[in-house]
Symmetry: C2
Amino acid sequence: MAVRVDVEFGAKDAFKAVKRGDLIVVVDVLRCTSSIVSALANGAKAVIPTETLKEAYRLSEQRPDFLLAGERKGHKLRGFDLGNSPLEFVQEAVEGKTVIMTTTSGTHALVRCRRAEHVLVGAFLNAAAVAKKAAEIAQKEKVNVSFVLAGEEDLFSLEDFLCAGAIASEFPIEGVDFSDEALAAVLGFERVKGALSEYVGKSRHAKHLFELGFGRDVEFSCMLNRFEIVPVYVDGKVTLIR
Amino acid sequence: MAVRVDVEFGAKDAFKAVKRGDLIVVVDVLRCTSSIVSALANGAKAVIPTETLKEAYRLSEQRPDFLLAGERKGHKLRGFDLGNSPLEFVQEAVEGKTVIMTTTSGTHALVRCRRAEHVLVGAFLNAAAVAKKAAEIAQKEKVNVSFVLAGEEDLFSLEDFLCAGAIASEFPIEGVDFSDEALAAVLGFERVKGALSEYVGKSRHAKHLFELGFGRDVEFSCMLNRFEIVPVYVDGKVTLIR
């Protein structure tokens, strides 16, 4: 049977994908999932996403050995070790460490998917690896695949749409059944794949990040298939898939 | 000032575009807006969209000289003169006539936009003409533009998304400010414009129409810029713009 590939354009609709019993790929290219991929690629042991700041501070008090990372309104927070720039999560900073992370949208979206059986973390940085793994699990366990685009709660994000297209276009299985949303995303990605950072740069959120001085994050987050890793969210933690 | 171009992916969000005070382009390629464009291009005097069947029957009783057209579940209805196939609205059938029309999604979407100052009817068939007129009004009256995709109430439709992209990509004004949704639509259209009916044919709704035997409607509705007309919805009627 063909694997169905669908897309929820906003994190508020994550529950639909959970309800369908789909394998979920959470995407928040600017910048949460790009940061998580960077952190794990550079040797972090785990990333623990939290929805609220309060929860992040509380957990950090209990575990002072954990790093505290994230943002509100794009900026690093008081008492935090790291912000939400994928370029901060270098080996020197994160190797062997567990990172508590709270961001405006991406960590919310992850937590909203916590009841799903399979939740992968996708970005341009690991698009092909995530596609391969998602297709493998979907075939083996006979589940469908949904992307949950987390850019902003209630809003469509061009960069996440293009990233879902990047991942979906790498699906190696025959007979994939794309929803209208998934097909639109694949077409969009195919149109811009030769100039990814140029087009992602035209998105609302990228423009906002340019204003805040985070232009290099946009550039870095558009590096297609830089890492061959697949982060998975299980029991409240994101780790590399076994 | 740049004209902002936005897209509401579902008819249920038409109210947002109305609230913003935007010029609205309603798009329901398969098949309502393609049929309206065909009807007016072939000499119909006006099309009166109604939300309910009851309203359509009532109006038809009052005005037996009007034609009654539309569908439910894709099929023409008992006592109706015409269905919802753009190929039915030929000159012999509609010239000089007023057409009462009720469809599952498209006429709903139009009625939902009735409080907007400017409501144009868009399809692939008249994409360039609508773009030119929308841009002209937007510049003159200093309003922004929103596409309302009417394919299905609550669902994203690939064909309407691509059509919004077709129209938006023809906008002749400098300094158009595309929302993420509008930019995604333009990119999708640019990717498929050489093979429009092939890609529209992959959409959920086209597949449904193929099953019902309406394949020729899909083919016809994909004829880009076949007509140079702009239907406008004012005071409950769609007519050619003066």
